[in-house]
Symmetry: D4
Subunit: 134 residues, 8 copies
């Protein structure tokens, strides 16, 4: 596992793409390579699994609303750090926050604030900087 300085941003549906762009803007400003994917833990589980196992990124950022299982799904299939962004679709985003942050022991998701993809990117920058030795 060598640090490539690359981040994957995954959203569960096309509706959430604008949030991914708010994250990628910050990665760009920090010269970090990234790719954006639309893959749902519930609608494309096989594609998502294949993508995760073949991916060479260092950090995953996953964003989802409602019963937001996407970040936890990724965290259970990789040993890389996974950052979760709860999105406010219902109940002010409390449902997605709790669905993402309250993970069982052994499968951590690094959760940031509701509708705050910028902080997911800033956190990824900190992790990548560390592994790059910058």
């Amino acid at each position: 596992m060598t640090c490539k300085g690359k981040v994957s941003i995954i959203v569960g549906s096309e509706r959430d793409l604008p949030f991914s762009e708010r994250a990628s803007k910050i990665l760009k400003e920090n010269s970090i390579e990234f790719e954006i994917k639309v893959l749902s833990a519930h609608r494309n589980p096989k594609d998502l699994e294949n993508y995760i196992s073949n991916s060479d990124v260092d950090v995953f950022i996953a964003m989802a609303g409602l019963s937001a299982h996407l970040p936890g799904f990724i965290a259970s299939r990789t040993n890389k750090p996974v950052i979760g962004v709860p999105l406010n679709v219902s109940l002010g985003g409390l449902d997605s926050l709790l669905s993402i942050v309250q993970m069982p022991k052994g499968v951590p998701v690094a959760t940031v604030g509701i509708d705050n993809p910028e902080n997911a990117a800033h956190l990824a920058v900190r992790i990548i900087s560390l592994c790059r030795g910058v």
Copy 2:
């Protein structure tokens, strides 16, 4: 897909087995066949997937606390009805309730009350009775 009159009860960890027994007691009283499995969506995703695809049950009952992804995981890999039971491990069970009930469109989980596996069994009885034509 013929109705076999059989239910699968899945819990994410051994800690939750007593809840599964409260459900199975009611299935027994209604002469419905069942099996109980301990399989975690986060720790044994592959085993869980295999179990689901090879299973011949009519209805799945899944119980979990915290970021409770187990019922939704099952619902995304089968076309059978899936019943979710939120368990109170933290926050009065509000985290697991929202993680289970707020599923995205197309992947429904039939959610019952917090720490109420009995109602999951009663709901399964209603569904099985319907398909058996009793």
Copy 3:
């Protein structure tokens, strides 16, 4: 009790009819027969009771906001599966979610997400498919 492949969608007031149509659209796509009724547990309890006892549907879908007693009312008067849809009229829909999902033991309501009639229909499709042996 033979499976007729028919669903009843009940809303408590005319205001909620648009939600019933989002459910019926999905039933239509799956070639499932349905009927839509406006009957309130609080304003027309007798009519509602008569409708339930004379109905030959396999599954009831009931939608309501606020102190949402409609799904539980139906579940206490039929042995068929009852699916409840909490609607957001106040407090983000938390009041209707809790009024529907926290039913006492023995009277289960299969609850789906807030303002998510589509998932009620998808769940009904799964139950009907099972009893039809499709």
Copy 4:
């Protein structure tokens, strides 16, 4: 409809009888006649309906936990004042509070505090005093 100075206290299950006694103690101290019934809106709807229509009391007090439909059920079948007491069985009683207080327009329930049957009795005393012209 003449004022008889009589109150009915209804609980949904035997488990809740101690709460009814805390209310009846205050009615006794105020020399108000009362009767206590165990009748569930979900398990004995017919018996409950019969009881309500044949009752000659002036005020109903109903107590319930979880998805607490009992007070609203009574309010939809009588024109007498109905007082609801939310009981804490789950979630600190927030579920029962919201199930009781957020009634639709036209079917009011006079709701008092969580686990506070004393205030239901005190409120009944105020209403009875008014109608008795004391």
Copy 5:
């Protein structure tokens, strides 16, 4: 204390007058006399006290948002039934609901739903009908 068939509707500020009119409309339809007052428990406590002690109404309806102390203030200074209407100014109205309904033992407020002055009026109609012997 004889039943006059009269209701007082009190709001804490002019901003809340539209809510009082939704209540008074229903009282009018039921031929119940009423008066509307703007009196704040925090800004005009003396005027409010004087009004309450000199009033000959049978029932008080009080509406307030935020830390809604108005209904409880009235209930502590009269033996007549007091109905409280929580208004949504902040937090979906949860603050005013809890400020009104969770009264200490001995000082009951008959609480109705958030932003639901209609039900306050309907409840007043039930109480007045009882005391009038209609």
Copy 6:
């Protein structure tokens, strides 16, 4: 209005006296004079009013649970700073927190944390130190 360096601690019932002692201990350690009173805004409003208008203290500390109106009541009858301590009697203390902190404009209560009378005392020490010119 000269600064006397004196604090009044008011609780609504004897049950809450232990909380007042946790505050007074800190005032003692800071050599600030205090008196403790048991006076309820709902049960002794007249006595409470008299006490407030005749009092020569600089700062009031008031503690209450449930629909906690005591601090706001005092703030509406004095121009001195009033500190409110929400006590957890129900719902984790969320009801008393919101009843105390969400005061209408013009009648401020300086609210501290749930079950944290120590911070009320520490805040009083800061205010008294300022007015004493220490």
Copy 7:
């Protein structure tokens, strides 16, 4: 520490300046001197520390949304009274309310209502009046 009759209003970002103006308007009406600063506990901690230690104001008012650490930061670096105003940016302001009011023992923040800078100013007026001996 002599009373200068001066207040500092600090906001964490320029976005929150309109709230500071609602507070300063009330200070002006009460002829209390004030200054407004934009200083973030997270982005300018050093500047904020310097400002606090060199300041000669009597009372600090700090406003912030989300994880609102600004008021607590100031309270931990001064012995003057600190007033905190939670702003609603997310979750109705519940996040900022709890971040401000639930301070550990020894570091009190005098918290006022969500989006209620007016009450922060009114509270400051009360404290300044006391120390000025007005």
Copy 8:
């Protein structure tokens, strides 16, 4: 900034040390060096600042209850990844969760579940593994 493979665990008070040990146990099992410090953002801000600036660790884990400012304080003074663990002292830990996770843009805290220091350690292991190239 080279990866040393070292983690710092900081708790705000001695009361929270048992939680730090649950995290350190997992770091030990993964052969990751660590140190544990008791330093409060509110009571020892200067010591905490000094510790952070002189530290050579790769990742900070910070745990706190109530208005939990510790993780955000650290995140605002280092460019290293900071992991926050909300502890349940009040309100089921909802106050600390929101105080930690809802950080403003630019100052991210990688938040894990309430009372779940194990997941903080597991997340640190993932980050360290990445930077070590294991």
